[in-house]
């Protein structure tokens, strides 16, 4: 190619490499570059220089907050944060509904358990009273009055069946961690547990009946003490009363 035709394109190459060549001249230069290896070599050299100019600026440290801001803008961070805390309205409503259902279930379960406990108490109470009534109608029954420490009542003993029924008035209510415990007392003052019972706050009297595995005739009395909930193997608490046979 003659130099007088080559020179105008060559002069435009530095501006083209910087991206500063006016649009009207770009097409002509690019057309020339397709056929001129020499100009392509020049362009490669100036392009390398323009790339290097990108780095010929003193570094400037950005504010420290930018790193955190950038991190929060990452799509993965959005996804993670969404999973962690940014539930949609539908998801939130579903979780809320499940929470309410769970709460209702727990409340129902507690109520059912409470009803079962009340039912068991009433059933026990009924059984106790029926036993006591049966004892009263039995010809060989022994009736022993109770009158000690402000507590009055009646003790029914059936020696043939080793059945015991206790009716006591004015028994104080015990805290939840305590219970009444009845003991058979022998002539050596040894105690054998008859069982535990609690007073019923809805009734003015307390009844307790049981068929003992021991022969009642071998004992000389019955005592009632206050024991920790669940009872004790031997009396540990204060004595409420004692009745001799």
């Amino acid at each position: 190619m003659p130099s007088n035709k080559h020179t105008p394109f060559l002069e435009n190459i530095p501006a083209y490499a910087l991206g500063a060549l006016d649009a009207g001249q770009v097409a002509a230069l690019e057309s020339h570059l397709e056929t001129c290896a020499s100009c392509r070599g020049e362009l490669a050299a100036y392009r390398a220089l323009s790339e290097d100019l990108l780095m010929a600026i003193p570094p400037k440290t950005p504010p420290a907050s930018m790193r955190r801001q950038l991190q929060s803008k990452l799509p993965s961070s959005h996804r993670l944060s969404s999973r962690r805390m940014g539930w949609s309205l539908g998801q939130s409503a579903l979780v809320f509904a499940l929470g309410v259902l769970l709460l209702l279930n727990v409340v129902s379960l507690l109520q059912m358990r409470s009803f079962q406990q009340q039912q068991a108490q009433l059933s026990h109470q009924l059984q106790s009273e029926q036993t006591a009534l049966a004892l009263l109608s039995y010809p060989g029954i022994r009736t022993i009055p109770i009158n000690a420490n402000g507590i009055t009542g009646t003790l029914l003993l059936d020696d043939d069946r080793n059945a015991v029924a206790l009716f006591a008035w004015n028994l104080p209510q015990l805290p939840a961690n305590q219970t009444y415990q009845a003991w058979l007392i022998d002539s050596q003052e040894e105690r054998v547990s008859l069982g535990v019972f609690r007073s019923d706050p809805t009734l003015p009297f307390t009844s307790f009946s049981i068929i003992s595995s021991n022969k009642i005739a071998n004992f000389v009395g019955i005592g009632v003490t206050v024991e920790p909930s669940g009872g004790s193997s031997q009396p540990t608490g204060p004595r409420l009363f004692r009745v001799g046979f």
Binding site: G19, A20, L49, D52, L53, A56, K60, M66
Partner: protein, 180 residues
């Protein structure tokens, strides 16, 4: 992980590694931010442009090819485009950098402990600074402000032919200085 090469880290970024991404940010944020600031001459806009550049690294990491050039050049090329787009969007008049700004200097003149690569860029920086004011102005406006030769002529009130001559002369001088 911090010892990994750029190409390995970019591969990890392409697979969604936030840790690799932050390592690259720590490595190059000051260079990207400097270019954004030089182009936009506004700290707020420069911060946004820097973030946009790194978000493009995050979303386009799989497009990077180490065979075609270094990651830094790739990042700075993106940063320049982002900043120039923002400049056009803001329709702001170009401003020339103040070479007397004490903050606008390369920290520490080359010393033995500095990486040789960084020394190279320092040398080019000084080569640009050693240009005459007129030559430096056309380079600044063309490259860092994205103006065409006609726009530079209009901005500076110079004849178009003068702009062309000065731009060409400035590039030839840099090429000579740089290739020595």
């Amino acid at each position: 992980m911090s010892d990994l090469e750029d190409a390995e880290l970019v591969e990890q970024v392409a697979r969604g590694s936030e840790k690799a991404f932050l390592l690259l940010y720590d490595r190059y944020a000051s260079r990207v931010h400097a270019l954004s600031l030089r182009t936009l001459n506004d700290p707020m806009l420069a911060e946004e442009a820097t973030q946009d550049t790194f978000l493009k690294l995050w979303s386009r990491a799989q497009l990077f090819s180490s065979e075609r050039g270094s990651l830094l050049v790739w990042l700075l090329t993106i940063a320049r485009r982002v900043a120039l787009d923002r400049l056009r969007l803001e329709a702001r008049r170009p401003s020339l950098s103040d070479s007397n700004d004490p903050a606008d200097v390369w920290p520490n003149i080359p010393d033995e402990n500095t990486l040789s690569e960084e020394n190279r860029w320092r040398s080019l920086y000084f080569a640009v600074q050693s240009l005459s004011v007129e030559h430096r102005q056309v380079i600044e406006l063309a490259y860092y402000q994205g103006l065409s030769q006609s726009e530079i002529a209009e901005t500076l009130g110079w004849p178009l032919g003068t702009v062309k001559t000065r731009l060409r002369a400035a590039m030839e001088q840099l090429r000579r200085e740089w290739s020595r």
